[in-house]
């Protein structure tokens, strides 16, 4: 039997498998082409009687035909099965709801803190933390606000009834007390961020909440190593990351006792790129927070020698930023505990 015959069998078989329309026909074809009495099986058996040269000549074509036909058989079998099944009777309604897996929602301030922490930690900052129930020294005195300082009026304070306590406690009015707490145990250079809950004894309205969250950043190095120019750069870098596009930062003079010089800082309006819109009241800039170069008296309160170090601190309210980014109209929603609000984020 020669290779010509193999080609014929192959052609015949391929045609037969392609035309097969039922399981019965397929079974017959299986016997006909692969059965013990089939021509192919006989040819395979007959190989052993051939000379080595004949084997080399005809062997591959017999094997090849068998492989091709086996593949044709498998394809035909799958096709017959697919075509013969009543798929419609098995149909499910894929638009029916899934089995509910509960999903909770993080508070928008939590999400924002994580977002900001991630940006700063990528820039090599440590995250520091401090108590909300703070004492007078860290919240005021160490930050160059002795008790007779008019600047204490800038921050209405929730004081704790002090009877029987070792010192005067309060609910921290800003996250800055952590500056001194951190410096007491660390030596420059360092760069940290401090997120946290702060309190002001002010009545609440759509833009004011007596309990809110602040975020501040402190960078300290040797004198001359950490400058106003560096602060501008860091602020621009941070806000560009945070908003996802280039942001300009503008400084205006201000006063906070724990920095000198002190700044208010504005960023170019993130909604109109500084062209002027309703969100920035047409001026192209949005007032974001306070900043400044660390007062030497603060370094001294932390036990650093006067004049050796220099640094900057800056911070801003998170609710304000969240309100801007998420278009939240009322600051009181953050502490409302209203799950219908939380579930939007």
């Amino acid at each position: 039997m020669g290779t010509e015959r193999m080609t014929e069998i192959e052609e015949e078989g391929k045609r037969a498998f392609a035309e097969a329309g039922s399981d019965e026909v397929l079974r017959e074809l299986e016997v006909r082409f692969f059965g013990r009495k089939s021509e192919l099986t006989a040819a395979l058996k007959g190989l052993k009687d051939l000379s080595a040269e004949e084997k080399r000549e005809i062997g591959p074509s017999i094997q090849g035909t068998r492989t091709v036909l086996m593949e044709a058989f498998v394809v035909a079998k799958e096709r017959v099965e697919r075509e013969g099944r009543d798929w419609e009777s098995e149909r499910i309604d894929v638009t029916a709801p899934g089995i509910a897996e509960p999903l909770g929602h993080l508070h928008p301030i939590t999400t924002m803190i994580a977002e900001i922490e991630d940006i700063f930690t990528r820039l090599g900052f440590d995250v520091a933390d401090g108590p909300e129930l703070e004492n007078e020294f860290y919240n005021f005195d160490a930050l160059n606000m002795p008790s007779d300082h008019p600047a204490r009026d800038m921050q209405d304070t929730f004081w704790i009834e002090s009877e029987g306590l070792d010192t005067r406690y309060l609910l921290r009015t800003h996250t800055s007390p952590v500056q001194v707490r951190y410096m007491e145990t660390h030596v420059p250079p360092f760069r940290i961020i401090v997120p946290g809950r702060v309190f002001r004894n002010e009545s609440t309205d759509a833009t004011h909440e007596h309990t809110f969250h602040q975020f501040e950043s402190l960078v300290v190095g040797e004198t001359g190593d950490v400058t106003v120019g560096h602060f501008k750069h860091l602020a621009e870098t941070f806000f560009a990351e945070f908003f996802g596009h280039k942001i300009d930062v503008r400084l205006r003079p201000s006063y906070f006792p724990f920095v000198e010089p002190g700044f208010e800082f504005d960023i170019s309006c993130v909604f109109c790129d500084g062209k002027g819109c309703a969100s920035c009241k047409g001026i192209g800039w949005i007032e974001i927070g306070g900043a400044g170069m660390v007062q030497q008296k603060v370094f001294e309160a932390a036990g650093y020698p006067r004049g050796k170090y220099q640094g900057f601190a800056w911070g801003f309210g998170l609710e304000r930023l969240a309100m801007m980014k998420r278009r939240i109209p009322d600051a009181r929603l953050f502490m409302s505990g209203d799950l219908r609000f939380i579930r939007q984020f």
């Binding site: 090599g124 309990t211 000198e260 220099q310 505990g337």
Partner: protein
């Protein structure tokens, strides 16, 4: 402070428009809160000349006048004022005018005579309370022109937020004008009038200063003060600066306050008995203030007194006894300087904040009294018809210019940019700071009005802001490379929150305080452990929270209005004090579940917590019923027999259970509410570290179902412990069914047995199951059930 743009322009010589001036101040000195046209409300008020005055045919008290308005013709106006006379210049409100006093002017017929407009009195124009007669204007007023323009009301007001460190020099027209001139690179206009106080005779009222809290006291005695009202220009400046005119003596002190930033006080000299003594208040003294309130004085208060006792609270407010009245003709004017911190103490003790105390708190230098006093004297003489009887000037402490030595390298160090030193010196010069050089160092001579300039950094700030912070380029820092150290507690907090959210819990944040009622529900033992606010905002927020549960329950009630079932958590701090006065702040995880209908709330909570414990890799957690003798007030909101105490390795980390019926009622809840309160720090410190690999079991375990019936009082925890102890081959225990009936409880377990090094045989498993039956029967009378 509200500044009149026109006055600032006069004093500073600026050519900027109001908007330009505001922007300049914004970027170099202070925040400008607003720039607004002054709203005088006098749009249709025009100056008129009374041509003739005739009587009204039908009314004795009315006059019929003819008033001319230059090119604007003449009008007939009926007027009721007794003082109207021919030849007067008057302010006429034309028909259509809406006056500040609320009157609307229309053409009218008054007792048969057509009247077109109204000749105005002071009060109708919003200039004061005087309604005795019409306002008669000086001769120079031009008929037909706008009254508002004549009176200086066409002005723009800049509301400038003066920063606390510039309180000494900038809360006044002269101070702000000096600043504006300096920003424009000019020396200040002549600040000080070249007159001295020594040219006057000694005052007849003696002054004795007995406290060093009064640094200087200038007393000026006037006679012949008229009680008439202030001239129009003076009222106009006061009104534009937001101060209501009162009477001439007080108006002059207010004007001087605005002009120089020097508070003054005018006494009725005839009410002063003996001389003036400036001293500390004595125990038991009291004072009736100008506003009629009586205050009990503290020995820390400084008072101005006479022989009879205190006359005024020094630097804060005058007293009733010596106040100026319409009968006053002799005035004793006080121009004094007080110690800032003592004024601050007094003002805050008595909760009085006045224009005077505001400035004194921010420091008024002793040098200012002289020019201010001379300015006031000139006004009393020129506008109040007064003459000076004498002047007394007592100084206990004199402010002197201060020299500060510093290295100008601070500029480059601070801003990262080279600043030409000549520029810096010139900028400081414009501020009145004279710089001389000494080698590499500068010696700056600082005027007394700038106590905020005391070290190198102060000067760096001045130079930096005058140049403008925009001038300093943003530059990337060179920093030492260091890996951030991860704060475990922050990392764990983030993981915990994310885990809870993905397990279906919404995160809320609530206030750190609650009401007295909330605090009291924890029982009397807890009362002393609560910290309280000394100055709460409202009665619902008086105590610092010692637990997050009350707020969680309030929020549960509020959410139940809109939602039937939900689960939420808060990760926040609670605060407590102990008997020895120590305070603690502890981060707490507070969880609430309001189960769905048919859902077993406690089981859901326990399931969620067990998942949490697995997530946090907490080993050896145990749940036990709250002991009957648990007296902790913290647990008093929970149901006594449906609450578990949870511990890790024997240490309690919190509780979980149903809210008790009393609390459900108290917080207005309905149905079942379950909650857990866990210590965050204990969760974190017990949480496992990175796991190491354990060899995988090679041989399959054999599992048998075992069903036991026990008395209801036997807990599943007990049975589980007995089973585990009974069989050394036991690898896993799982409860798959619990059924309670008639005081009995049937519990079904899947028990898996196995060896680590070979397959367990059926026979061996049979023995183990027998051992389990025997042990449970012996120890808790368990019967094997079918």
């Amino acid at each position: 402070m509200k500044f009149s743009y026109n006055r600032l322009k006069e004093l500073s010589g600026t050519e900027k428009t109001p908007a330009e001036l505001a922007e300049c101040i914004m970027f170099h000195t202070f925040e400008v809160e607003s720039v607004d046209r002054y709203g005088h409300g006098l749009e249709s008020v025009v100056i008129g000349l009374v041509e003739s005055v005739g009587s009204h045919p039908d009314a004795d008290r009315l006059r019929v006048t003819t008033v001319s308005f230059g090119d604007g013709g003449t009008r007939t106006i009926v007027c009721g004022a007794p003082n109207v006379a021919e030849g007067q210049k008057v302010a006429v409100a034309l028909p259509g005018a809406k006056l500040p006093g609320g009157i609307e002017i229309k053409d009218a017929t008054i007792r048969g005579i057509a009247s077109s407009g109204m000749i105005c009195a002071e009060d109708e124009l919003g200039l004061g309370s005087d309604h005795e007669g019409i306002l008669v204007l000086p001769e120079d007023a031009q008929a037909g022109t706008s009254f508002a323009e004549y009176a200086g009301f066409e002005d723009t007001i800049l509301d400038v937020n003066i920063l606390p460190n510039r309180g000494c020099d900038a809360i006044s027209y002269h101070g702000m004008a000096r600043e504006i001139a300096a920003l424009e690179g000019r020396q200040p206009l002549s600040d000080v009038a070249p007159i001295t106080l020594t040219s006057f005779p000694e005052s007849a009222v003696s002054v004795s200063v007995e406290t060093d809290r009064c640094r200087r006291y200038v007393g000026i005695l006037f006679q012949g003060v008229t009680s008439s009202s202030s001239p129009l220009w003076l009222k106009s400046v006061l009104l534009r600066s937001g101060i209501r005119p009162i009477g001439i003596a007080v108006d002059i002190t207010n004007y001087a306050l605005l002009e120089y930033g020097q508070p003054m006080h005018a006494f009725d000299a005839d009410k002063i008995i003996g001389g003036i003594v400036v001293r500390q208040a004595r125990e038991g003294e009291s004072l009736i203030l100008l506003d009629g309130k009586t205050i009990a004085l503290s020995v820390d208060d400084t008072v101005i007194a006479d022989e009879e006792g205190p006359l005024a609270l020094a630097g804060v407010m005058g007293g009733n006894r010596s106040g100026i009245t319409s009968e006053t003709t002799r005035v004793f004017l006080e121009v004094a300087t007080f110690d800032p911190s003592s004024i601050r103490k007094t003002a805050s003790l008595h909760r009085l904040s006045t224009d005077a105390s505001y400035r004194f708190e921010r420091n008024v230098d002793t040098e200012r009294a002289t020019p201010s006093a001379i300015g006031a004297i000139r006004l009393f003489v020129e506008t109040a018809g007064a003459s000076v009887l004498g002047v007394t000037d007592v100084t206990t402490h004199q402010d002197e210019p201060v020299s500060v030595r510093f290295a100008p390298s601070v500029f480059k160090d601070m801003f990262g940019t080279e600043i030409p030193l000549g520029d810096a010196k010139e900028k400081l010069g414009c501020l009145g700071v004279v710089v001389t050089e000494d080698g590499d160092e500068w010696i700056a001579s600082v005027p007394t009005s700038r106590p905020d300039l005391r070290d190198a950094w102060d000067f760096a700030e001045e130079v930096g802001r005058m140049i403008g912070y925009d001038a300093f380029p943003s530059t990337a820092p060179h920093v030492v490379l260091s890996a951030p150290t991860a704060d475990e507690s922050i990392r764990f907090g983030r993981e915990l929150r994310t885990f809870l959210a993905s397990s279906g819990f919404d995160e809320i944040k609530t206030y750190s305080f609650y009401s007295d009622a909330d605090a009291k529900r924890f029982g009397p033992d807890m009362t002393d452990q609560h910290l309280r606010l000394a100055n709460p905002m409202n009665p619902d927020q008086t105590s610092l929270r010692a637990s997050l549960l009350p707020s969680a329950l309030h929020k549960t009630r509020e959410n139940l209005r809109f939602l039937d079932s939900f689960r939420f958590f808060e990760l926040g701090d609670r605060y407590q004090r102990n008997g020895t006065g120590e305070v603690t702040e502890e981060r707490t995880l507070s969880i609430v579940i309001v189960p769905k209908k048919g859902e077993d709330g406690f089981a859901s909570l326990k399931g969620a917590l067990e998942k949490l414990f697995r997530f946090a890799k907490l080993a050896d957690t145990a749940w036990e019923a709250l002991p009957e003798d648990d007296t902790s007030g913290m647990h008093s909101l929970f149901h006594p027999t449906r609450t578990a105490r949870i511990s890790i390795s024997g240490r309690t980390i919190g509780v979980a259970g149903e809210i008790g019926p009393a609390a459900v009622r108290a917080y207005g809840l309905r149905g079942t509410v379950v909650s857990a309160q866990l210590s965050f720090d204990l969760l974190r410190s017990s949480s496992g570290t990175v796991s190491t690999f354990q060899p995988l079991p090679k041989f399959p375990y054999a599992t048998r179902d075992v069903s036991l019936t026990v008395s209801r009082s036997v807990t599943i925890g007990q049975i589980e412990r007995i089973i585990r102890e009974a069989s050394p081959l036991l690898r896993q225990v799982e409860v798959f069914d619990i059924y309670e009936q008639e005081g009995e409880k049937k519990v079904a377990f899947h028990l898996s047995f196995g060896f680590d090094d070979r397959t367990v045989t059926g026979e061996e498993v049979g023995c183990e199951v027998e051992a389990v039956f025997t042990a449970t029967e012996r120890e808790c009378s368990a019967k094997r059930s079918a």
